[in-house]
């Protein structure tokens, strides 16, 4: 059945004005904090991800940029012997959507914090979280929810138990849905099921700020997660005094969104009641080593196309355009 939703939506006056304004405000925010803009080419000539839009340039198969982080990582690892520490970007990506009504062309602004010293991780993560706290104000978004998770809280136990890929996927899906019964179904006869299910229970406990992390001390893997929990506590302590009015911080160890990619703390920004996050990011220490560089990195991306949709459907969430 043909999908009639515009996959490549045209932005008319107000939406175009908002896009320009938001891009400008976010890039100014990032530049004030020392992030320098890079603009990777829209056309990729390297191997392409499966969800790319591909076409022939003469006899050569090329693709449109489908993700800034990966494009920037390729560019940086090829061009720089040492990583530029702070990088920002703005522009469009083209990606086949998971849901048929989502646009293929999406506008994003984001930043990456790259470093060589592993000890720099806590400081870099807090720096990014503080920047993300400033995003709603820059966008004129009234209120929001910052969801703080940590990919290693599920990754470490799964690694420790040597779960095969299919079982890992099923467990991640179950935890992402906050579904203990689906986790039990997935693990059924696995020998580590009692331990992993006890851990899942602690991840899924209703959480409330720093107190919520205490549940994880009852996990069978608490010993293996000491460093990650200290890191989360440290991040929380640094962020709580900085929370702007109208922004709520929710610590959610069950937020396993993007687990195959992220390796450490994860952040997502939501508008109250909105069904999709408006910004997302986290630590991804696996990408640069894959590209031959022993660098560590974290970043986040603000999904301007979703914000434009939200401004149309729920204008009361935003300050009016001047």
């Amino acid at each position: 059945m043909p999908i009639r939703t515009p996959h490549f939506p045209d932005l008319l006056f107000d939406a175009a004005r908002r896009l320009r304004r938001w891009e400008g405000a976010l890039m100014a925010l990032l530049q004030r904090h020392g992030y320098e803009e890079l603009h990777p080419s829209l056309v990729l000539r390297e191997p392409h991800e499966a969800d790319c839009l591909r076409f022939f340039d003469g006899n050569e198969l090329v693709a449109l940029r489908s993700d800034f982080t990966v494009s920037l990582a390729r560019l940086l690892s090829q061009r720089f012997p040492e990583p530029p520490p702070r990088v920002a970007y703005a522009g469009a990506i083209f990606r086949r959507p998971l849901q048929p009504w989502e646009p293929v062309e999406r506008f994003e602004v984001g930043c990456e914090r790259i470093h060589e010293d592993p000890e720099g991780r806590p400081g870099a993560d807090v720096e990014l979280a503080r920047l993300l706290l400033a995003v709603p104000g820059a966008l004129g978004l009234r209120g929001g929810i910052l969801q703080l998770g940590h990919a290693a809280l599920l990754r470490v136990p799964m690694d420790q138990e040597g779960l095969p890929p299919a079982l890992r996927d099923a467990l991640v899906r179950a935890i992402s849905r906050r579904s203990a019964h689906r986790a039990a179904e997935a693990l059924a006869d696995h020998p580590a099921a009692p331990r992993l299910l006890a851990h899942a229970e602690t991840l899924l406990e209703q959480l409330d700020g720093a107190g919520g992390l205490q549940a994880l001390s009852r996990s069978p893997y608490a010993g293996a997660l000491t460093r990650e929990l200290e890191h989360l506590h440290g991040t929380l302590e640094a962020l709580l005094p900085l929370l702007p009015a109208g922004l709520t911080l929710r610590v959610d160890p069950a937020d396993v969104h993007g687990l195959p990619f992220y390796t450490g703390p994860t952040l997502r920004l939501w508008a109250p009641g909105a069904q999709q996050e408006l910004a997302a990011g986290g630590r991804y220490d696996g990408l640069f080593p894959e590209l031959g560089r022993p660098w560590f990195a974290a970043g986040f991306c603000v999904r301007l196309s979703r914000l434009l949709d939200l401004a149309e459907t729920r204008p009361e969430l935003f300050e009016p355009l001047p």
């Binding site: 849901q99 009234r142 209120g143 929810i145 969801q147 849905r177 906050r178 579904s179 019964h181 689906r182 209703q206 109208g246 929710r250 959610d252 939501w270 508008a271 109250p272 009641g273 909105a274 069904q275 999709q276 009361e316 969430l317």
Partner: protein
């Protein structure tokens, strides 16, 4: 300033699952207003102020929750697994228990179906059927139907069916038998991701009430 719309909506299913659920809600804080039920009211007040119910067809219900219209909902896992939506699945309510099974005319069994060069399966559950075929390493033509799948093998439209089985009496009446179980199905409590994150203080108590009410069944 409160930005989320009040009241909070609870999506409840019409049909067999709804018939099982409604009597359990009576006398509970989520009992539906009898007067409103007799009218064509879209939103049915409950015994808890600020909480209203929507009565929806099961196949539509997950979309109302995923879209954030309803904060919570009750839906069968068979329906949920067929609907590509991002919702939280907070509890298995153990309601409307049944199984999704591969059923074939007597005396066929799974091995005889496996040996067919071109297997045709009629079903209302193509997503779960495709997932099972993949797990089993089988290929089949799926014949999508919206009702009375059990007629398909009798009339030559398909070799077997994938359908919900509760007691098995309908199958036996049509000369069919279960040859494999694909999944255990039951009513699930689902929640909108955005609402759960935005208003946990309103949603959590309702989740507890629903689970307590259904545990008493």
């Amino acid at each position: 300033m409160t930005l989320t719309p009040a009241p909070l909506l609870l999506a409840l299913p019409k049909g067999r699952l709804g018939d099982d659920l409604m009597p359990l809600l009576e006398q509970s804080p989520l009992a539906l207003d009898r007067e409103a039920l007799r009218t064509r009211a879209l939103r049915i007040p409950t015994a808890t102020p600020g909480v209203e119910a929507l009565l929806l067809k099961g196949s539509d219900l997950p979309r109302y929750v995923a879209g954030g219209v309803a904060a919570l909902g009750v839906v069968g896992s068979d329906t949920l697994d067929e609907t590509p939506v991002d919702v939280l699945e907070l509890a298995d309510l153990g309601l409307g228990l049944c199984r999704l099974s591969l059923c074939a005319p007597e005396p066929q069994d799974l091995e005889s179906l496996r040996r067919r060069p071109h297997l045709r399966l009629a079903t209302k559950f193509p997503v779960a059927t495709e997932a099972w075929l993949e797990r089993e390493g089988l290929t089949a033509e799926i014949v999508p139907l919206s009702s009375s799948a059990e007629l398909a093998p009798l009339l030559g439209l398909a070799d077997a069916i994938v359908d919900l089985v509760q007691t098995g009496s309908t199958l036996r009446a049509h000369g069919l038998r279960e040859v494999a179980t694909l999944a255990r199905c039951s009513g699930r409590l689902i929640a909108s991701r955005g609402a759960f994150l935005s208003q946990p203080e309103r949603i959590q108590p309702l989740v507890k009430i629903l689970i307590q009410v259904l545990n008493r069944k």
